[in-house]
Amino acid sequence: MSAITPNDVAHLARLARLELTADELDHYAAQLDVIVSSVARVSEVAADDVPPTSHPLPLVNVTRPDVARPGLGAADALAGAPAVEDDRFRVPRILDQD
């Protein structure tokens, strides 16, 4: 496994929306490198034929009936919001159009 570089950390930070300082990039790179080397041990296990476990319990088909119920009113919904305008959540300028 190749080492984790500060560049890698910068990429991860971007994906995860974390504005790290230059010091942090170095610091975390070293730490993450150690951790990844350690956890990478899992690849030593021969597991080609082993099915992955995504849920510890064998439950299937858990659903709810299609019945509508009122939720929060707008006031409660917006109560914790950092910025509100016109009963909507106000968010900063979006640069990237979807």
Binding site: H55, T63, P65, D66, A68, R69, E85
Partner: protein, 514 residues
């Protein structure tokens, strides 16, 4: 002073027909259908369109910390029916997955969707595509790659800029009413070998999907309201070459836009390729007003969505017996049904399309099933009854006119008791609640005047009133008879049979038919 060397002029497009002489288009269509369930995909919030902002939200769809999703059973049923209608295989077992990316219209900053385990796979749809210049139709089989379940995002409005669009906006406002409404995504396999028909195929495919969804009752599929959305992927390649780089065009908000967007993108890509340029893999935005696409976010560096199975939900394993029960509820595919009925009724595609556009196809079909002659059913439903419905501002199916009424009216016409014109009054009476056809005829005195002596009296009166016309007819100008017939019709308030009046008139004057 050096002249500017860099050309910033955009490459020109190539006219469509010309582009098709050099390139083959490959299409991929992704259609999103917003389901018409009562509640959202993962919570019990109401889904009604047009509510005040942020009034149809709860801790779950706002993604407040600690909340969890629970799958809406009706959404699962709907998507299975949709998959069956598209001839898909319904899988035995599948999971939802998280699609991770940050965007303010998506409260969790991941979307619960399906990744490598869609619930419906490997189907097809036979689409009837009109050929250009009214040359008839051809059927194209569009392969369906997958149909999967996911959730919709909130709605953004952009403030502060000039156009209300995202570019140049100072900030944005989010309404999460729409966040979490169930969405079904239908992805086609690559559509090849359509040549110049590509835009028409795209449009016909989306139109057919829309009809199917309406027939299933799973969505109101209104493109203008966003409950049916289409993204069009287009690439071009020279014959024999591998497929080219594709672009994805969004904001295609009507059937006509589907066709125009595909056409415009073909023209643009041909222009780029002709000059030796490279197609950028990107998302493009279609503009209704100009009919062209412009670049959006570049997809050169594809977003890493870091999909993994949704741990807050357990797998979906549709019971095979239940799937078969649902299969029995799937109506006949609309285009196939239309073709069958058109053949049964002896009408062409154009007339069938008129019936569909008028929204009276089902009414005609039901009437025919009840014994009304197809021609009569069509005449009345697409004619007078449609007119009355529009006048009253209601849907034709809401008129209190039963197939039996039409049958009786036709019988009365055939018997000569009433004529077409009188029949309209009969329908008016039925719709106004005055009773059935016979009752209305009696009450309003709508029978055709069949008594010859009464007609002759009216004829003689009309001749007396128009002596110069009488002269003309006697002189051999048979065409002038029309004026007399008209006068008699007026005198009898339309309750005479015009043909009979004319015959009697000519007889009376001893003039032979020309």
């Amino acid at each position: 002073m050096s002249a500017s060397t860099a050309s910033t002029k955009p490459t020109s497009t190539v006219p469509f027909d010309e582009a098709l002489t050099r390139y083959e288009p490959v299409l991929g269509l992704e259609v999103h259908v917003e389901l018409g369930t009562e509640s959202k995909m993962f919570c019990a919030c109401p889904t009604a369109f047009g509510a005040e902002p942020n009034t149809q939200v709860c801790p779950v769809c706002l993604a407040l910390p600690g909340t969890l999703p629970v799958i809406n059973s009706a959404a699962v049923e709907s998507i299975i029916r949709m998959g069956l209608a598209l001839n898909c295989t319904i899988v035995e077992w599948c999971r939802m997955a998280r699609k991770n990316y940050f965007y303010p219209d998506m409260p969790k900053n991941y979307q619960i969707s399906q990744y490598d385990e869609p619930i419906c796979v490997d189907g097809y749809l036979d689409v009837v595509v009109p050929l250009p210049d009214g040359e008839g139709t051809t059927t194209v089989r569009v392969g369906i790659e997958r149909v999967h379940l996911e959730e919709d995002t909130g709605k953004l409005t952009h403030a502060g800029g000039a156009t209300g669009r995202i570019h140049g906006a100072d900030y944005s406002l989010v309404d999460y009413n729409r966040a979490g409404i169930p969405l079904v995504e239908i992805v086609t396999k690559p559509i090849t070998d359509t040549g110049a028909l590509a835009p028409a195929v795209a449009k016909a495919y989306v139109a057919e999907l829309r009809d199917i969804m309406r027939g299933l009752g799973v969505s109101d599929v209104k493109m203008e309201e966003g409950s049916l959305r289409c993204d069009a992927n287009v690439s071009l390649n020279r014959p024999g070459d591998e497929w080219g780089t594709r672009t994805e065009t969004k904001n295609v908000n009507s059937l006509r836009s589907v066709e125009r967007a595909v056409r415009s993108e073909i023209e643009r890509q041909a222009g780029v390729l002709d000059t030796g340029g490279r197609i950028t893999q990107e998302t493009r935005h279609f503009h209704e007003d100009t009919g062209v696409t412009t670049p959006g976010r570049s997809k050169e560096q594809a977003e890493d969505y870091r999909y993994f199975p949704e741990p807050d939900l357990v797998p979906i394993a549709p019971d095979a017996a239940w799937v078969e029960q649902l299969r029995a509820t799937i109506p006949e595919q609309p285009s196939i049904r239309r073709a069958r009925l058109a053949q049964d009724w002896g009408i062409g595609a154009f007339e069938m399309e008129s019936l569909v556009n008028a929204g009276v196809l089902q009414l005609v079909e039901t009437s025919v099933e009840e014994g009304v002659e197809p021609d009569a059913a069509r005449k009345w439903w697409a004619g007078e009854l449609l007119r009355v419905a529009n006048e009253r501002g209601v849907e034709p199916q809401d008129l209190p006119v039963a197939p039996g009424d039409i049958k009786r009216v036709e019988e009365l016409i055939a018997a000569g008791t009433i004529n077409d014109k009188l029949a309209r009054s009969v329908f008016d009476g039925i719709i106004s609640g005055e009773g059935d056809a016979d009752a209305v005829v009696a009450a309003r005195g709508l029978t055709v005047v069949s008594d010859d002596s009464a007609l002759l009296a009216a004829i003689e009166q009309a001749l007396a009133d128009q002596p110069d016309v009488a002269e003309k007819i006697r002189g051999g100008k048979v065409a002038a008879a029309g004026a007399i017939v008209g006068a008699v019709m007026k005198a009898t308030r339309g309750q005479a049979d015009a043909g009979k009046v004319r015959t009697l008139l000519l007889d009376h004057l001893g003039v032979a038919e020309a």
